[in-house]
Symmetry: D3
Subunit: 235 residues, 6 copies
């Protein structure tokens, strides 16, 4: 029995509220249960040095947590002095979002997706990817409406969900209560029915080839549902 | 005529939504027009080294701005590497909130008030002080309800508002459109009808003793209104 | 009765010794009682990026304290890692000096005013502004003598003085003994009889509108005397 | 056809030379083809603060690359200012080695495994884990010989290998020539026939559930061979 | 012929003004020609961790240069972020002063000697050592007068001077004009007629064993004169 | 009697193994007894800003120590945050190697010599200079073979050795056991029979003019032997 009473293949209640920031080109507030992440997409008409005059654009991400997003207050972090954990997360978000975009169609501009965790209850990096894609989608819509882009650079949505072994059983979308107990858990990023990233990690435990198969199956089911919500939110 | 059409002594529309964070001991989202600041008060049962075994508590503040709170995206900052502007602001917030608390009655514990600007349109430091006091009030209420504090350490509310010379006229509560044009502007922090802080600054202009009097009068009126809203919100 | 025996509207003994550095374009050693600040003005034929090709110049300031300027030895600071206090002070000095200069008449060059406190006894930021203006005046004189500038970019002197409530009474130009006891004190920067900056701050106290009037009156008197000394020193 | 001519399931030539450092409690130089990593294990009779008086020990890892380990010279890194990539790698090494140790049996001491890449040709993090385990094994042997530990805290060896899709085909143990071309690749860490970590990542490509199965199969085969070599080296 | 017209074995005009800082336990302003260094000695009743409960004291030094001490304005430095040159200099000053003190007789306290260059014209590190010793001497005198120390921990003065090959000839006490031309120069630190430190360095040149002998002879003569001045100043 | 049983003028066993890195333009592993330093020379077709369009090249050095090169594990250092000791050493290595090269003949390119201490037993900076010159020699040979350089920019080898007073006697090439006991020791850098650098330092001791002569004599003998080995290794 999961602490929340959910079935092993059940997502938490998910909502995606869009256009929550009057300055950003695209924005949303994604809630996966008590995990709330504010995602903004900022368009800049410049690219990193290695892409100048390449005709290609860039998508990057930054991730942050407000000091009291967690049960006990944490320390503020900054761009040049982040913990290893924060860097791992934002590198993952950036790679995942780039995997779903045609950088030639985007043209020589950069979109920065900021994912700021307002309240945390497990699964913040997955919520950031799923919500970040919606902010990115809305920013691209605006560029297309303004005819700055003619071919849509985004194809299938990019979605992410965590899975893990909780009390010996494979479960979908762990909340903090489960996450802190699970000896094995990981994050799966998909676009359509294809995989982009897998990060599985065991702590004080191990997992078998067969269990890996089960977890992957759960992730495929969860991501399909999230992709539907992304489409509804950014339609 | 002010860009917003407001009278010279009119505040923007203000709202204070409380208990917006499930982890924090006190929290609110204050909106002064399009300036939105999330304030959380975190209680810790420890004090800075210089207060150990003194029987006194401490109140401190941190201020941050989400990267896309502003019209163009800004850079993330961290606790140990903040710009001078950020440090000035959070030192001001901390001093202001401490001015309104009896640190002996608080007892040997620390309350950290985090003010994170979700969206900025001028006057973020004043909104942070006014909203920060509400978060502090709610956290203290919780400590009193739990009988950890017996004498209320908070007396009159601490409120803050900006005033300035816009198009040659003294006006209350400048928004960004006014702030960026005003040659003279400043921040006033009051508790009850007494002053705690004044920070007046001219850029490419000067002001007279008489104009200073007018600005101070406007601030007194604005702060009286804000104190009523604080009381309503934290009742 | 003030610890120094001064009247409430009396400045400390002030002296301004000029040309104390053989390398700097302008320099002075200002002494306000036991507060001694070495001020140098350095001219560079370049401006910050945001002013390139604007035809305008820039004045900036840096403030430092030698480790043993104070009663107990302090820690050295550096340009990129200054305390919030140091940053606040040098931002104030820079804004104040810029308020008194016509940046078009200065032409596209930068003058950096370094204010290094050799010995501290209260009021170092005000001494830095008053002395810094003299160093700036001397550097501009040299540029005019060399015909690099044709119109004098400096008009009325910029002067600064502190005032506060000591033992319940408004007093002028606080020394360290008063400053460490005063619950309310602040700094006033004037040019001619007009105000540029006010920074009033209360700690464990408050002040009224009427007291603010008194403090402002004292500051106006003190600054008028300082302006006379600046003129004499830089004639 | 692979650039090296190897079969798709063939490791590079592997050698593990032990006791290469006269100061370290355990050490080896592991060579996987042209990737050479110097691994040392340092025993300290202290633990991180969170483990004091817990009766448990700790294993941690640091990873570094000499500036000219790569084809073009790189920048030196330091403990507190590492790139995100370096931090990800050393966190992975540390978690992997901890997964194979009984921290109660180790007792309250810390072993730091330093993995310094002398020459790089792909797969440095996997070589670091495989070689790091040998250094750890040797250091533990010394502690047991000295009777400081009575129960062996290490069970099955921890081994790691990379796999990826090169030219559309799943291959084992990518060298740099393959790694820089592969759109999909990842690292697998095993202990015995069980999994500890999987890090799969696609760049400009995706992968299917079936391909994931193949890659995992290759990794299982490669790790079994590496475990034999570890045993031979540390016997 | 030297630029200054001095004989090859002639020091510049040297003066040592003592008690120039009202807070420091010992202080002097040393002038060697146009090189002016403010030296303060600060006594603290604590020692670095490695000396606690050892019965021994410590002497350390910090060196700084005011931004406009040099012909063109330099950048401020801080304690934790100094250039290599600054660190080398202050390590040299500290070692030199420690060489002349009996740390048991000093007792478990630390004296920090701050050497701040007000104006530079070559030879600042040597002036800092010679002046720093005077500040140290005065601080020790005060400790002895207060009966905190009973045995004088200082024996012969520590003095330093630079020598170099200028225009092919060995000369004493180089000023900036000579220093910037000399291919070979160095610093010699003596106590009495014995050597403590030699730092010789050639740039675009070399020197012979015989030339080294000559330079050493000049240094011995110069230091003997400086020791007389130190005694006179601190008598 | 020396701990190692060596005569007072005897070097440790020295070996220089070349071409130990497949990426570097020049490389060697120098062993002076148990001190082992890996030296690589990296050629880059660019120079520091101050040499652009000067027709001259540059040689610079970086020095590092693997964490467990020493008896107890040390902390990793990075390029921008090195200890004063590390900076002193790499500045010395760079100056020494530059003293032996004709920078016009080198042409507008930079060679960075990295000296990484794999295992330390005293004298690491001297081994770095001697080995670094061999790596530099090999890199220059490659540039000449490729006809990128036509005139050999290197003349006599640059060699370095330490000497000191151990148990009252002048000895050559101190190992760690001697170095940690010696009150006086230093480093001598020569090219041919001429001196480039001397760094003598006493700690808790002093030395006389006559002892300095003896130490210099020992250094001359040791460097002559090292120069022969350099020639043999890089022939």
């Amino acid at each position: 029995m999961r602490p929340s009473g959910r079935d092993k293949d059940a997502l938490r209640v998910v909502s995606i509220e869009t256009d929550v920031n009057k300055h950003a080109e695209g924005s949303c507030l994604i809630r996966m249960g008590d995990t709330h992440v504010l995602c903004t997409a900022s368009v800049e008409e410049r690219v990193p040095p290695f892409l100048r005059n390449s005709g290609q654009g860039w998508v990057t991400a930054e991730y942050g947590m407000l000091p009291r997003a967690t049960t006990t207050r944490g320390r503020r972090e900054a761009k040049d002095k982040q913990t290893g954990r924060t860097q791992e997360i934002q590198r993952l978000i950036g790679r995942s979002l780039r995997a779903g975009i045609d950088r030639h169609a985007l043209g020589e501009r950069q979109i920065t997706v900021d994912c700021d965790v307002i309240q945390a209850d497990g699964g913040t990096r997955c919520a950031s990817i799923t919500g970040g894609w919606v902010a990115l989608r809305l920013a691209v819509n605006r560029l297309m409406k303004a005819k700055l882009i003619t071919t849509d650079p985004l194809s299938a949505p990019v979605t992410a969900v965590s899975c893990g072994l909780y009390a010996g059983q494979a479960v979908l979308d762990l909340d903090y209560a489960e996450d802190s107990e699970a000896g094995v858990d990981g994050n799966f990023v998909l676009t359509g029915d294809k995989l982009i990233e897998i990060q599985m990690s065991a702590e004080g435990a191990t997992f078998s080839h067969a269990e890996m198969d089960q977890l992957l199956g759960l992730a495929e089911g969860g991501c399909a549902q999230l992709a539907e919500m992304q489409k509804a939110a950014s339609a």
